[in-house]
Amino acid sequence: MQPADLSAIDLVAAVRQGDLSAVQCTEAFLNRIQYCNGAINAFLNVDRAGALACAESIDVRRRSGQPLGPLAGLPVAVKDALCTADLPTTAASKMLENFRPPYDAFVVSRLRQADAVIVGKTNMDEFAMGGSNENSAFGPVHNPWDFSRAPGGSSGGSAACVAADMTPVAIGSDTGGSIRQPAGLCGITGLKPTYGRVSRRGLIAFASSLDQIGPMARSAADCALVLETIAGHDPGDSTSLTDAVPRYTSLLEQPLAGVRVGRVPEHFAAGLDPEVAKGVEEAFAVLKAAGATVHDIAMPHAKYGVATYYLVAPCEASSNLARYDGAHYGHRASAKPSSAFESPLIEMYCRSRAEGFGPEVKRRIMLGTYALSSGYYDAYYAKALKVRRLIRQDYLDAFEHVDLIGGPVSATPAFKLGEKTGDPLAMYLVDLYTVSTNLAGVGGISFPCGFTKSGLPIGFQLQAPALGEPLLLRASDRFQRLTDWHLRRPPNLTALCTPKG
């Protein structure tokens, strides 16, 4: 049995019992990365030496009988939006190409304290802005199921990494679907927790009222294992929740009998790929077979989700990204005297930002600046915040009648690289089924529920009320006990990957 064939839960148990050393486990996945990453480009940075040293120290402690953390020996890949003190952190931007954070993100510290082995940093859309991973300044990620297709985004590197068995779990972040959509397109499981469940300290900020960090793995059970390590209050993030963190892995056993799952008829309107629609309907049938009941519900403001999101998120982004000024860290343009600017300092700001940011980031900064500017603020930003309340109210009303809301995670399976890059608005509409979760601050999970005839994964999404992670994970786990979609691997992947070096 190869380490890649084991779940994260079984790997951790094998290391704890001494059946597998942390070094053996880490080496197996590092070798897989070395073999596959050249073709997939899921990693921006692989820390082979650091990972092996960490694994070695775990083995030494195990042999001497010292206590080990709950994730001891588990290789983890971390989205390059999270600060790591010993590794570059670029957010896939030229702006941060040479940035070395002086501290670890809260989630990274938690992983280290739990004795997880951080093997590297994963590719993403620049500053997490995008739904295809094509906005990375360091090249797109290729979907392991079809290299000519996008893995989704923005956590496309983390999703592809797990789908190709390069690590058993990865960390992503989700501002409008950036964990759930790539998980869906790559055939893995991805959880966006309730806003505030996981501390955002050390996560490079995109839209602070929407951003949330979460686990990505093969299965819901493995996501539960990682979530119980990374969730919890952090005095360093004033928006992190103080509620106690349940032991998610111990709450999976209860059957689904009596659980009410909502189905939104409008989700199945024109635009939803027929094969995706079929897979999603079959997923509802599986949940029914597990004892749940399915009820049609109304989400009257769902169609305003994308428009609301593309005002709220760019406004927050334009403010958050104002920090990249070429002065404290990040790219600085070399001086090129010009009379077009009011002072040399302003010139340095404007030119550093022009050179450091890619086109999508500039677009969102411009959009946010416009929507926040005097004379337009009420018409755009304030209006969007009001609609945001209506969208959240839809959720509060729906959760009076159902415990979960099910549906598609994206309207189509993985699309071709380059297919949508010429049309920013078409790319935004990819987020149709995922953005409202973030606007409402609730949790959502996506997992594979079938495959198209051409062999591409189809994703199913469940959403729950705030702090409903135990039910999200339990329902997904129950689904995965009755199906084997999450265990499928991309065919011929090993043969298709050209070994590097």
């Binding site: 428009a307 070429g326 404290h328 040399p344 700001y349 404007c350 086109p359 969007a384 009001k386 609609v387």
Partner: protein, 90 residues
């Protein structure tokens, strides 16, 4: 708008950016059809309240750590071009 965002857009970017932004603004104007007269804005999803902590001094980043990724510094301070004066005088 680019000046307000402190972005020096290149000439070749301006035309595409202008048309893309007007498309996007046209799309988000969909919200106009909703009557939101009596709706309060929602800036934060979970109605969080302000969080206070005791004002206890604790160690923070050292000067060296704070400067480690600075494009230019003199070991003590960040260095930037002149704040005042004509561009090109730096």
């Amino acid at each position: 708008m680019a000046a307000l965002a402190r972005l020096a857009l290149f000439d070749h970017e301006l035309a595409t950016m202008t048309s893309e932004l007007s498309n996007i603004v046209g799309f988000v104007s969909l919200l106009e059809e909703l009557d939101t007269t009596n709706v309060d804005p929602l800036a934060h999803p979970l109605d969080a309240e302000n969080v206070f902590r005791d004002d206890v001094p604790s160690p923070s980043l050292s000067t060296a750590e704070a400067l480690q990724s600075a494009p230019r510094h003199d070991g003590q301070y960040f260095l930037v071009p002149a704040v005042l004066g004509e561009s090109g005088a730096a």
